[in-house]
Amino acid sequence: MPVVANPPTLAARSTIDRMAPASGVGDKIFKWLTLAMALAVVVLVFLVGWQLARGSSLAIQKFGFHFLTTSTWDPVAEQFGALPFIYGTAVSSLIALIIAVPLSIATALFLTELAPLWIRQPIISLIEMLAAIPSVILGLWGIFVMIPWLRDHPFPVLKRLFGWTPLFDGPIYGTSMLAGGIIIAIMILPIITSVSREILRSVPNLQREAAYALGATRWEVTRIAVLSYARKGLFGAVILGLGRALGETMAVTMVIGNTPQIRASLFAPGYTLASVIANEFTEATTDVYLQALFEIGLVLFGITILANLLAQLLLRTMGSTMPPRAVQ
């Protein structure tokens, strides 16, 4: 929470309200103007939902619930099912979380509890710089640097060690579900780290002091007093990262292979909800095709809203309302 000097509390606001009864015409206009603008966010949410629903109405009628369970994506026969993309989004996001969450939370702990003071700000600044890198640039790096390196070094090793399992079975193309997961991980590291940091900072010092008083070491204080207290908030940070991972578009499109199939192997190419929209939207030749893509957008909107709702609720239970920063 930012250290504020005398923010307008509820009591102060009522004083102001009493001192300046908004009677003037100017006051009334201004108040309603700002209210209208504030309500814009609510309007926007409904606008998005309405546009997506309207644009996919025919497809919803035609395919019904089967849209979510069918795995055929056949523009020729006009059979569309979203399952491969739901699978791709789910798996790539899961891989990203598995990689990013331990790293982020460990880093957040490092920055709030365990690091010497002088090293904290430089690392924080560097992480904010990472957050500022646009997705398309990370994708560019992904195509020309990450994928060739993955194809030549870690992937063959993984294949040698684990090739007998279905997860690492099959030929190595380079572009793959695993590559998609890794690049999403890089994109969500900053946000999970920074939100976790805020959560950890909001743990009252009393908790830490009590643990120290009992003779705990630094790590024990962190584990006993801080982590368990911050559990819900940290979980919220993870879900926030998940929400970001679900909607990541450009970098994923450039490294995941863009093939609508459901394969167990992480080396196989995949396709996500966001990627199929990016690739095929301007080229959908028939109405049903375009509507099916709108419906994919609706599904994507739905799951990201759910993830974000859950995340925000969890974060608010810690008693702090984090302004989002431009670190998104």
């Binding site: 926007l44 460990a106 690091a115 710089m129 997705s135 398309v136 994708g139 790590w219």
Partner: protein, 284 residues
């Protein structure tokens, strides 16, 4: 219990934990270093005067630049600001100055949820709203999509900055007989102006790198845009289409474009940091 009997083991564990956490922090920063290294190595060579001044050449012909894309990005940001700043700033004013506890909780919640909407969805929405209606891809559509993304961001940063203005200022102004709205505009907002502007700059830096919402709104253009109701080039779009092409020359230009884009974004972030040095009373 083992832990009690060997206190040095507990201390070691603590030191070990700190070290592991340090390694994790390094791993988090590593991609930044790698990306920057390659941006500089591949892109620096291709950035030249012609890069900033020439238009793209036909396919297969070497040379050319991204002048229209760079300028197009600025035009789009101008339009986005037009769409997003008034709504964002005034909305933030409402939250800070007028809102009740209950309504604010709801509005902030909705704004934060809106922040999590994938940017490609905004592209789809604006396609339906604007592109189909007017039967044309346009800079307006692109700017609107970017503006929508900016609104919840600016709203929250404006609110936060306005809350930093001490209540005393408001009370003093009202005591002098200045009306409520004039107090807000001339006293509170004026005091917080730097913070509001930096919030806007941060939002602009954020949307400057967005590609997905522009794919089917601004659409891209190989020449200068002469009419905002026509398609327009943008730097991230150009980087994307060059990156997935097979031409080596285009790949080099993509790196150059990426370097330019990242440098622009970082400059804005550094500018913001310089402007807010005094305001940042954040205690680590």
């Amino acid at each position: 219990m083992k832990n009690n009997q060997y206190p040095s083991w507990r201390k070691t564990k603590s030191a070990l934990a700190a070290m592991i956490a340090f390694v994790c922090a390094l791993l988090v920063i590593a991609p930044l270093a790698l990306v920057f290294f390659h941006l500089l190595r591949e892109g620096a060579g291709a950035v030249s005067w012609s890069f900033f001044t020439e238009l793209p050449k036909p396919v297969g012909v070497a040379g050319g630049g991204m002048a229209n894309a760079i300028f197009g990005s600025f035009q789009l940001l101008g339009l986005a600001a037009l769409a997003g700043v008034p709504a964002g700033v005034l909305g933030g004013v409402y939250l800070a100055e007028y809102g009740t506890v209950r309504s604010n909780w709801l509005l902030r919640f909705v704004a934060d949820v809106l922040n999590g909407v994938p940017s490609i969805i905004w592209g789809v929405v604006v396609y339906g709203l604007v592109v189909l209606r007017f039967k044309s891809f346009s800079a307006y559509a692109g700017g609107l999509a970017l503006g929508f993304i900016m609104i919840p961001l600016i709203m929250r940063t404006t609110e936060e900055v306005l809350l930093l203005v001490p209540t005393g200022y408001r009370e003093a102004s009202l005591a002098l007989g200045i009306s409520r709205w004039k107090t807000i505009v001339y006293v509170v907002m004026k005091t917080a102006l730097k913070g509001i502007v930096t919030g806007i700059l941060l939002a602009l830096a954020r949307v400057a790198g967005e590609t997905a919402p522009l794919l089917f709104t601004a659409f891209g253009n190989r020449f200068w845009n002469h009419d905002l109701a026509e398609p327009i080039a943008a730097l991230p779009l150009q980087i994307f289409s060059y990156a997935i092409s097979p031409y080596d020359d285009w790949h080099r230009q993509a790196w150059a474009g990426a370097l330019v884009l990242v440098v622009m974004i970082f400059l804005v972030n550094i500018l913001v940091r310089v402007l807010t040095r005094e305001r940042l009373a954040r205690v680590l």
